[in-house]
């Protein structure tokens, strides 16, 4: 079955695949996960806030993002971000945003909707009495969030946040539609140049599987160690 296949194409291109492609994928995943969690936490706080209108805004944002396919969102932002930037800073022309920054903004904003749902559950898992106790001690809203509620919510939700980050890692492969050289993009460029797509796509599948599988095993291990604080 593999007689016609030539796996040397992988040996010849592994540096490009990993140092260019995988480096892009991992950087994008890491930055978008951090950005997504920070923004997601803010959205979750808005969602649970008692200030009028804020919860509604947060809800509309989350539901809006969650009803769109990521592919469509990627196209939207690649074309729209420069105009939004122009509008925000009041520049006279659309600001220039490169492929990486544009993908980063897209994934941060998109994944924030998903992270916010996780953080909302995390904040809600902390007994209300703790917030009440914090304010009784004279802590402000931000102090009680920052030093009482959020640290525990993070700890409780860490496994779920990491699982979502694995999903994010897989989702970044969709920047393929913009011809950006992420890991899959690099693999497909080599595949198309050398006419070796069977070998390259199989290899890409094996690498993605290995990374995600090992990561999910580690998350499960962590899950057993991090007991939910109630």
């Amino acid at each position: 079955m593999f007689s016609n296949f030539d796996f040397s194409v992988i040996l010849n291109s592994w540096r490009y695949l990993f140092f260019d492609g995988m480096a892009f994928t991992l950087t994008l995943t890491a930055l978008a996960a951090v950005g997504g969690v920070v923004l997601g936490t803010l959205i979750a706080m808005m969602r649970l806030s008692s200030v009028p209108v804020l919860p509604q805004i947060a809800k509309v944002y989350v539901n809006f993002m969650r009803s769109l396919p990521l592919v469509l969102v990627i196209f939207w932002f690649y074309f729209l971000v420069p105009y939004i930037g122009q509008w925000i800073i009041g520049a006279e022309r659309p600001i220039q945003v490169g492929a990486f920054s544009s993908s980063l903004i897209t994934f941060t904003l998109f994944e924030a909707a998903y992270f916010s749902e996780i953080m909302r559950a995390g904040i809600q898992s902390i007994p209300k009495g703790q917030g009440a106790a914090a304010s009784a001690l004279g802590l402000t809203y931000w102090q009680s969030m920052g030093s009482v509620i959020l640290p525990q919510a993070f700890r409780n939700m860490l496994p779920v946040l990491l699982t979502q980050t694995i999903v994010l890692f897989q989702d970044t492969s969709l920047v393929y539609v913009l011809s950006i050289t992420d890991f899959l993009g690099a693999a497909s460029k080599i595949a198309q140049r050398d006419g070796r797509l069977v070998e390259m796509y199989l290899f890409a599948a094996v690498v993605y599987f290995a990374v995600c599988f090992i990561a999910s095993l580690l998350v499960r291990r962590l899950q057993r160690r991090v007991a939910i604080i109630r």
């Binding site: 079955m1 539901n63 809006f64 009803s67 769109l68 396919p69 990521l70 592919v71 469509l72 196209f75 939207w76 074309f79 729209l80 105009y83 122009q86 509008w87 022309r93 659309p94 897989q170 989702d171 492969s173 969709l174 393929y176 539609v177 899959l184 497909s188 797509l197 069977v198 796509y201 199989l202 890409a204 599948a205 993605y208 599987f209 995600c212 599988f213 999910s216």
Partner: protein, 239 residues
């Protein structure tokens, strides 16, 4: 903003000669819905079987179920799409491969199969969780009544489990619907692909994407509404 807005574009003829740009988007919507429904049939059937396997007493059955879920959850959907579309035909005997490649609407069948098996792994997770959430007494009651394992699942466990997992299944169905857009990479002319084609032919980027966005939101709201109706219909009275 240096952009020529033209909202009338939807009523102009598309170069495909089959109607206006609005018709083009609607034909994409039809493909999106048909693909999602067909894929869902596979996902629901395969996912239920795999989910059940994971709750059976047999170690071998559990291992098969777990292996399936790990395999399909840990490879990005786009890569799976390429494996089905580009790699599978080359792995088969040549005559089968050629037949497969020359099927009319090959992107559609590929997308249905790929999405079906992908979503099945997620449905399986929900089915397993649903069955495991039932009180253990239910299984025992089935056995005590003299039901076989198959009958216990058919008449006792699954009907209750599906009721519990209806909300997460709805969100899996919505994910499945959104994921049809990934099939644009193998040439499926679904809604996002049509919006992109409209942008390319007419250069009206933002009108095309705005229309697609609104359509997706409307389908989402409809699905959520329908799921709510079903939920009320099948609710066990008195619970």
């Amino acid at each position: 903003m240096n952009y020529n807005w033209n909202w009338g574009i939807f009523f102009e003829q598309s170069p495909e000669g089959t109607g206006s740009y609005a018709d083009m988007l609607l034909s994409g919507l039809v493909w999106t819905i048909v693909t999602a429904l067909c894929a869902w049939v596979i996902a629901f059937a395969v996912g239920s079987v795999i989910g059940v396997l994971r709750t059976l007493p047999s170690r071998a059955a559990q291992a098969i179920g777990n292996a399936y879920v790990e395999l399909f959850r840990n490879i990005p959907l786009l890569v799976q799409m390429f494996l089905w579309y580009f790699v599978l035909p080359e792995m088969l005997p040549e005559s089968w491969g050629t037949w497969l490649k020359q099927l009319p609407n090959a992107p559609f069948y590929t997308a249905v199969v790929c999405l079906g098996f992908f979503t099945a792994s997620r449905v399986a997770e929900q089915v397993r969780a649903g069955i495991q959430a039932l009180p253990r007494g239910q299984r025992m009651a089935g056995t005590a009544l003299g039901l076989t394992t198959a009958q216990t699942y058919r008449y006792v466990l699954l009907p209750n489990a599906y009721r519990i997992i209806l909300p997460p299944l709805t969100s899996e169905f919505l994910n499945n619907l959104k994921n049809t857009s990934v099939a644009l990479t193998i040439g499926l002319l679904e809604l996002t692909a049509r919006a992109r084609a409209m942008q390319e032919f007419s250069f009206q980027v933002f009108e095309a994407f705005t229309a697609a966005t609104i359509i997706y939101i409307v389908i989402n709201l409809l699905v959520v509404a329908v799921a709510g109706l079903i939920e009320r219909r099948v609710a066990v009275p008195g619970r």
